[in-house]
Amino acid sequence: FVADAKRLALHRRKLSQDRMMIESDVVEDLLGQLEVSFKDGETHWKHGGIVGVFGYGGGVIGRYSDLQKQFPSIAHFHTMRVNQPASKFYTSDYLRSLCDLWDYRGSGMMNLHGSTGDIIFLGTFTEQLEPIFYELTHVMQQDLGGSGSNLRTPSCCIGKARCEWSCIDTQDMCYDFTQHYQDELHRPAFPYKFKFKFDGCPNCCVASIARSDMSFIGTWCDNIRIDQAAVQAYIGGEVPPNAGAHQGRDWGKFDIKKEVLDLCPTQCMWMEGKKLMIDDKECTRCMHCINVMPKALRPGKDTGASILLGAKAPILEGAQMATLTIPFIKCEPPYDNIKEKVIEPIWDWWMEEGKNRERLGELIQRQGIRRLLEVLNIPPMPQAVKEPRSNPYIFWKEEDVPGGWKRDIKDYRSRHAR
């Protein structure tokens, strides 16, 4: 990346200053400060910095150097988060406009992409934030992404655009939810950040299950589609297993028993002569057999999503992965069932009872899945847990218990002398 940066430095040196609203040596200064940081073994960015564009509570991360005298051109070095198009396809002229804009009004350095998915503009001065925002919205019809205690920029896997396994329209859902919840994305109303991610199947290529408060993962509820001829092609060695993902090493001849049947976690596959059989009601849709034989096996046709809740990084109570909450839900625009029956009840609950800086996952742990069921108004299902509780510490409610809780010590003592 340094080579690339140096190249930009060169480029900027050649540009006349009126082609740049930020000092031309911003790159040199950044690399300079980086050097000092290496030497000191400490970052040289000041803490925080509340800047932004009018009316938005997110989209800009304020940064100031603590070596401003030494490196004046990065005295301010705010980032802007630009909401990427779903699954990150671009046309060159769109990208070029971004470059021209950022070259002119910013450091010319960016991240494609940030971990949440945004296009990250790395480093500009406060003065340029509004102008950039105006250019983005008026000229490029492009909005900022999220930061702060907002809905964060949703993202999704490539899905149906170029993947044969996607069980949901990841891009459409991502786009629709982003648009529908613009207010939540730009104006902090939550106790903390909230993230949506959309994976087309359980392979989880956008890692939604580990990185989003609400994770949508495509799945199916009918049967895996089998092309028996293709199965034979795999057995015969005419097609490389796992689409050739292991071709770099000689793993020997493909062995369907060893590589597929035996590895099926539910042991629900077997061969009847030349015929591959699957007991689909035992299948947990782990994708393994499909991954190994993409030409022969495909997910079912009756598709929808599983919704899992509460993934997050370690701060504070330790990391969490998302918990299975809605096993299967059909996903058809305008997705009202998801919005009204799932997302909004959860947000209402979280905004009502969540503590400051408490992620959804932590709230679920604090109040228990039982409370979550009440909030969503859904019945309990064993699928929500790996196993039932092993401790008998059940918090019974008064209405569960015959006769209620009001008791009279006198009545008790009438039967039991002290």
Binding site: I209, C283, T284, L324, I326, K330, G368
Partner: protein
């Protein structure tokens, strides 16, 4: 020297310390080993279960010891014990032992003695006609139910032990006498969650449980209990200090926070929990203790509450039987109940055992997070479809 027969025997209340013997510990075990055990101690080569309840162990000396295991109600009277002694004298040279699950083991050193012993045992019946010494409890079956005191002796039970165990055991008797199950099934019973007997790792556990917060006996609280200790005793901090209308120091209970553990009552008699309607029986399943194939495992709560229907507990008996029958029909050889449930998935367990899955079964205690299902790996069952319907995920 024989046992004394006067009221205070060797004890002289005037001089309580006079020739008091202490710290002598138990008798040494060796003297109680029958000769064949002494001779072959540590020399055993292998064993075989000849028939339900009858084991033979073969020694490298060539010697064989035949063991007949009989069901023992661990609650015994001197009369019953004396009868056991008679049998031991008659067949076993006066030796007998008890197992870690309170069964009685008679040992003989040859087949003739074995037959005689078995005949004798088979002939001994209670006035009620039931066998006094049923033979069984070995191998892939149900052996004796370990249990606790209940109403016979304890002050904290949420149910009775002996009567429930008797009822369940009668119902499972065929499994005590047969070895027809995929693996051993260990049933244990505890009358409160102190779980004397540690039923927490049993294939099936029966547990007495309170469901009403303690009643505060304000009148005596301050006088009979250390209020600070009482408050500290509560794991959920549901107890706080208060004053009664007539100004007495006492405590109050935040009912919503109570999880009915009874620890406060253990510490303080002025906080009784037991209640005829509140107290219930909780069923746990899927635990194990041995390290065979996989690690020991806790039992899981599968039925939160069944009524205390004394003395035969029909609901409890039916539930236990149902689980064992479904298990017997579906598990693979060597699979314990928990192995089977984990292989097919707990969602299948509940579906097949026709046990409704209630929210009470979802952990909400300290380590709850580790029980959450954080994956998309599940099987569809009616329970999951109910959830999908509730959110308009599928057509009704």
């Amino acid at each position: 020297m024989g046992l004394s027969t006067n009221r205070l025997g060797l004890y002289n209340p005037e001089k309580p310390m006079e020739n008091r013997l202490t710290d002598m510990g138990p008798r040494h075990f060796w003297q109680y080993f029958p000769p064949i055990i002494q001779k072959n101690y540590g020399k055993w080569l292998y064993h075989e279960i000849l028939e339900p309840g009858v084991l033979v162990h073969v020694s490298e000396t060539g010697a064989k010891v035949f063991t007949v295991r009989c069901g023992g109600a661990r609650f015994m009277t001197v009369e019953h014990v004396r009868e056991i002694c008679d049998i031991a004298d008659k067949h076993c040279g006066g030796y007998v032992r008890f197992t870690t699950r309170n069964n009685i083991e008679f040992m003989v050193d040859n087949l003739e003695k074995l037959d005689a012993l078995k005949k004798d045992l088979a002939g001994r019946k209670h006035v009620t006609g039931s066998l006094k010494f049923p033979i069984g409890g070995t191998g892939a079956g149900v052996t004796n139910i370990v249990h606790t005191q209940g109403y016979i002796h304890c002050h904290t039970p949420a149910t009775d032990a002996s009567s429930m165990v008797k009822a369940v055991m009668d119902d499972l008797f065929e499994y005590f006498q047969g070895m027809t199950l995929p693996a051993q099934v260990r049933v244990s019973m505890a009358c409160c969650l102190n779980m004397c007997g540690a039923v927490h790792c049993s294939d099936i556990a029966l547990l007495g449980y309170h469901r009403k917060p303690p009643i505060v006996d304000d009148e005596v609280m301050a006088s009979v209990c250390e209020i600070p200790l009482v408050i500290a005793a509560c794991p959920t901090a549901a107890i706080s200090p208060t004053k009664t209308d007539d100004g007495k120091k006492s405590v109050k209970i935040n009912d919503e926070r109570c999880m009915f553990c009874g620890n406060c009552y253990t510490m303080c008699m002025a906080l009784p929990l037991s209640d005829s309607q509140g107290d219930c029986v909780t069923i746990l399943a899927g635990g194990k203790i041995s390290n065979r194939i996989n690690a020991p495992r806790f039992s899981k709560v599968v039925i939160p509450a069944l009524p205390n229907n004394f003395p035969r507990f029909p609901e409890v008996c039916q539930s236990v039987r149902k689980i064992i029958e479904v298990y017997a029909a579906n598990a693979k050889k060597y699979e314990r109940i928990g192995d089977w449930a984990e292989r097919v998935g707990w969602e299948r367990f509940f579906e097949q055992c026709e046990i409704p899955f209630s929210q009470h079964l979802i952990d909400d205690y300290r380590l709850q997070y580790d029980t959450y299902r954080t994956s998309t790996l599940f099987k569809y069952t009616p329970a999951s479809w109910e959830v999908s319907k509730a959110v308009g995920g599928v057509e009704d």
